[in-house]
């Protein structure tokens, strides 16, 4: 090979290109390579030092959930033909992947009640931020109003992105766990380009999405809304702010589709749909919007068409919106979708099926209701928000004890009772808070065990405090 190239060694090629001062000139300071079996043992040893949902009873949620992933998803994702291809830039040999995207887009459109879905984006919080950017490009306005019910990671990511493209983010507080609609209307005005809320919200409560959407549009147009004290609406004929909702997709079998609640753009974390926890990623974000946003959508989109012989086929379309053609005017810089994770999503949704998806939602609702009642009945445990506010798969408690210490006691019993709320949000009203998530893998027996363990842990901590031990 070297003869064909016309050099004596590979080193010659490097030396001809790389100037001497930037040649490394030494070996990388990394361990030597290992045979496959040693690498396997090492990775297994690392795995053993993680306490996963396999090892303990996991009630952690807050954005990612321990749902059951059917075996056929694992099998399909390991197939060479789905795992190893590149992005489908040559559609003639990528019909499998392109059709999967089309099916996925159809499923997301159907779930959200919105006409346009892309083929997926990275994950939830960055999808929220991307939606904000799209809104800004759409209406040119740089003021965002966001409910404190958004996932804290979504709020943080939105702020990071907004600082870059020049938008202000105003946070609206909750009242008793739901977005305070008076504060919401009061914060929104004619300069507001986009508004954001979550459904269910971060605390697991179901928001009145139609009311929030309507109030946002009214306030943005300067129409009288109860208690609105904003600076008034925009110029006549100006479009209202874009209503963006971050939605938990597993609840869409039960709750009304965002598109029927006045929402313009629905985004969210797709991990619940057939994807593993994987310590936080990779997963996928979904991104759906009204028809008018079709040509501004970020990310990849697959479209149906015909070939020269009239065969039905699929291609990437509207690629001009993407980075590699529009360059500086692109609606986003997103180069990939999360094709493999979205495949898991559409397979999972097809596996659940029309009835199964609704049944799953009702099962989660029933178990959540049971768990919430069981836990608030414990001494030293109360609901953080009024029980009259419905929760469908997750809810918040307040413990009359140090949350970290209680969680440690539970961990020693093989139970992870949920997330430390204050550690996640930093809000004073969340002190003592515990966020408990329910999936179909958490049976009644598991919930009963949680009640026992949590009850005992709280009692032990309270006793310790009463006695005054350090």
């Amino acid at each position: 090979m070297l003869d064909a190239i016309g050099v004596g060694s590979v080193q010659e090629i490097f030396d001809s290109q790389i100037p001497a001062p930037v040649r490394l000139g030494r070996a990388l300071d990394l361990p030597a390579g290992l045979p496959e079996q040693d690498v396997y043992e090492h990775l297994r040893e690392l795995a053993r030092r993680n306490v996963s949902a396999e090892d303990e009873l996991c009630f952690l949620g807050a954005g990612m959930y321990d749902h059951y992933v059917p075996a056929l998803v694992d099998m399909l994702l390991e197939r060479s033909e789905f795992l190893t291809p590149y992005t489908p830039y040559q559609p003639e040999i990528s019909q499998g992947g392109l059709q999967v995207m089309y099916e996925y887009q159809t499923a997301i459109s159907e779930l959200t009640g919105l006409a346009v879905s892309n083929a997926s984006v990275y994950e939830g919080p960055s999808a929220v931020a991307s939606a904000g950017y799209m809104a800004k490009l759409h209406n040119g306005r740089s003021r965002f109003v966001a409910s404190a019910g958004l996932h804290p990671h979504s709020l943080a990511t939105l702020r990071t992105y907004a600082h870059g493209f020049g938008a202000e983010v105003v946070e609206v507080p909750l009242r008793d766990g739901l977005t305070d609609i008076d504060a919401w209307s009061g914060a929104i005005d004619g300069d507001t380009g986009a508004v954001f809320f979550a459904q269910p919200n971060f605390y697991g409560l179901v928001e009145d999405a139609p009311a929030l959407s309507a109030a946002a549009k009214a306030a943005g147009l300067g129409e009288g809304a109860p208690g609105s004290g904003g600076s008034g609406g925009g110029p006549a004929g100006q479009a209202p702010p874009v209503v963006i909702a971050q939605v938990d997709p597993i609840t869409l079998g039960l709750l009304a589709p965002p598109g029927e609640c006045g929402v313009d753009v629905a985004v969210g974390e797709g991990q619940s749909l057939g994807n593993r926890l994987d310590y936080g990623g990779p997963s996928f974000g979904f991104f759906a919007a009204r028809e008018e946003f079709l040509r501004r959508m970020p990310g990849r989109i697959a479209g149906e068409t015909r070939d020269v012989d009239g065969r039905r086929g699929f291609v990437l379309t509207l690629q001009t919106r993407e980075q590699h053609i529009r360059r500086a005017k692109a609606t986003s810089n997103i180069c990939t979708s999360q094709a493999l994770n979205a495949l898991a999503g559409v397979v999972y949704l097809s596996w659940l099926g029309r009835r199964g998806f609704a049944e799953l939602g009702r099962l989660l609702l029933a178990r959540t209701h049971y768990a919430r009642n069981a836990l608030v009945a414990l001494e030293g445990v109360e609901a953080l928000h009024p029980l009259s506010r419905p929760a469908v798969r997750e809810f918040a408690l307040r413990l009359d004890a140090d949350v970290a210490a209680v969680r440690e006691r539970c961990a020693a019993q093989g139970v992870n009772p949920g997330a430390d709320l204050h550690a996640l949000t930093g809000r004073e009203e969340d002190r003592g808070g515990l966020l408990v998530a329910i999936t179909e893998r958490r049976t009644r027996a598991h919930i009963d065990r949680l009640a026992d363990v949590l009850g005992a842990a709280v009692a032990a901590e309270r006793q310790g405090q009463a006695v005054g031990a350090s």
């Binding site: 090629i13 949902a53 321990d66 399909l76 870059g164 079998g253």
Partner: protein
């Protein structure tokens, strides 16, 4: 099977069929209508498919067979680094200790994951020559966004407002889009006759309104810019940052490091050099490494390592040397002095694409220092060999029809121009690409970089054999010989694929992006 008419999952099944069996209701049933008002409840179940498991499996397995993939064939896509994805990685990523770990698990009970991430950070720091790493960004373009936002934070912290970012006109399209998204303007830099940065243009444009120069080295032409030291000096001289797009890292691992070249910020594509499978278009992962002066702005959280103290917090003495403790720093505590609240914040939820970290880490463990260097050397050898094979081919004289756009040798990839082929044989690069499909190869990257007429960007990677490279060169030669006789054949290609050329115009004019249900 490949040629059968496309049927979507929504067109299969029948009412009442199901794959999922819902677990039994072991708690009192709750009527949603009693808990929630009607206007918040879904009126009718979503129109998802109703299929049995066998139908579901058959549908997707058959669909998979309409895909070309890397396990099946050669993908010489320039700038994509389509190297073999070792299957060990799937096995280790699937271990429940990794796969079923919740991202909010307390750090003391996620030491395996945190140690893995820390070790990966250290390895990437060593490979790049920049000490501080964040694994958070989700893809290359996300890492780029991070780099530009870091640059913004750096300048703002010094009380400066800069508006423009320089990118070479050969840059990947992501760069300009990222720049705009982060609130800057793009200013293009010219390329010189050798394919490197036009130094006069750089000197003319580098001023104190420039926030950053974004570069990849070697560049998209596969050429290492010999002026890199001077480029760094000029950029730093006006107080701007120098950003490295790691798309072409496969050429220089263990041989040259962006940190030593003078870069401040580097992003890696774990789905390129580090074998994260492409998955048909994602997931990926785009960690970044930065210099000391940029470290304060890194996104949070990052993984840190502490030596365990001799005395534990409850006052008891420890029983001998304790293992280091790995933790997630959210901007408080250990690294406060350096990091604190100057971080740009979050770019996404949780810690990043851990599943990709597991695979990349397994790869680095498998190859080790020598193996990584060997990978780059072999990648460069393979690219130059393929280039030589194509140029030495006389039947037809490929060097005339598909000349190398710049230079004589290349690093890990090279760019040919299909201009002469178009003029003399009436064959466009697009037609060559489509005809290659009939030969069982994925074509190279086409029409990029924009700088080269009818561009063809070829990157074989180190995991291809000589036989494959020879076969590919032979296929190109055969296509051009055929075109010399009758160019219509290639213009009508492909013929043997599941579908033939598709009407992309119709798809864009009247987009149909979901099934009517």
């Amino acid at each position: 099977m490949q040629r059968e008419a496309a049927v979507t999952i929504f067109e299969r099944g029948a009412p009442g069929r199901r794959a999922f069996q819902c677990p039994a209701l072991d708690v009192p049933e709750v009527d949603p209508g009693e808990l929630l008002p009607a206007h918040l409840l879904r009126a009718a179940p979503p129109r998802l498919p109703e299929v049995s498991e066998p139908e579901l499996v058959r549908h997707y397995v058959r669909l998979s067979k309409r895909n070309f993939d890397l396990d099946s064939g050669f993908y010489p896509l320039g700038s994509c680094t389509m190297k073999h994805n070792p299957r060990l990685h799937e096995r280790v990523a699937a271990l429940p200790g990794h796969a079923r770990l919740h991202p909010l698990q307390d750090p003391p009970r996620a030491q395996g994951a945190l140690e893995l991430m820390y070790n990966l950070q250290q390895a990437l720091a060593e490979i790049s020559g920049l000490p501080h790493v964040s694994l958070q960004p989700s893809a290359g373009s996300h890492g780029e966004l991070a780099g530009v936002l870091l640059t913004r934070a750096y300048h703002e912290d010094r009380g400066e407002t800069r508006h423009r970012i320089l990118t070479p006109d050969t840059a990947h399209g992501t760069n300009p889009a990222t720049v705009t998204m982060a609130g800057f303007e793009v200013l293009a830099l010219a390329t010189n006759a050798e394919g490197g940065i036009d130094m006069d243009d750089l000197r003319a444009k580098a001023d104190e309104d420039i926030a950053c120069l974004m570069l990849t080295n070697p560049n998209t032409l596969g050429l290492f810019d010999p002026n890199i030291a001077e480029i760094a000096e000029i950029v730093h001289g006006v107080g701007a940052t120098l950003y490295y797009d790691g798309a072409n890292l496969n050429a220089v691992m263990g041989l040259s490091r962006p940190g030593d070249m003078g870069f401040d910020i580097v992003h890696f594509n774990l789905h390129k050099s580090f074998t994260q499978p492409h998955g048909g278009g994602g997931p990926g992962s785009g960690p970044i490494a930065v210099s000391e002066r940029i470290a304060p702005y890194l996104p949070m959280p990052i993984v840190v390592r502490r030596e365990a103290e001799g005395a534990q917090s409850n006052g008891k003495a420890s029983a001998g040397a304790a293992a280091p403790i790995f933790d997630l720093d959210h901007g408080r505590g250990l690294m406060e002095a350096r990091v604190g609240s100057r971080s740009i914040g979050r770019l996404r939820g949780f810690q990043g694409n851990y599943g990709c970290f597991v695979r990349a880490y397994a790869y680095i463990c498998s190859l080790g220092a020598e193996g990584l260097k060997d990978a780059s050397e072999t990648a460069v050898l393979n690219a130059n060999y393929l280039l030589a094979r194509l140029r030495n081919e006389t039947h037809p004289p490929l060097a005339e029809y598909l000349p190398l756009a710049y230079g004589k040798l290349c690093l890990h990839e090279f760019v040919l121009s299909g201009g002469p082929m178009k003029r003399e044989l009436g064959l466009k690069t697009l037609d060559l690409a489509k005809r290659l499909l009939d030969h069982g190869f994925h074509p190279p990257t086409v029409y990029f970089p924009l700088l080269v007429d009818e561009a063809l960007m070829v990157e074989p990677t180190e995991t291809e054999t000589r036989e494959t490279l020879d076969a590919f060169a032979e296929a190109i030669a055969a296509i051009l010989r055929e075109a010399a006789e009758d160019p219509e054949i290639a213009r009508g290609a492909p013929y043997t694929t599941p579908v033939r050329r598709l009407d992309e115009v119709a798809a864009a004019k009247n987009p149909v992006i979901r099934q009517a249900l």
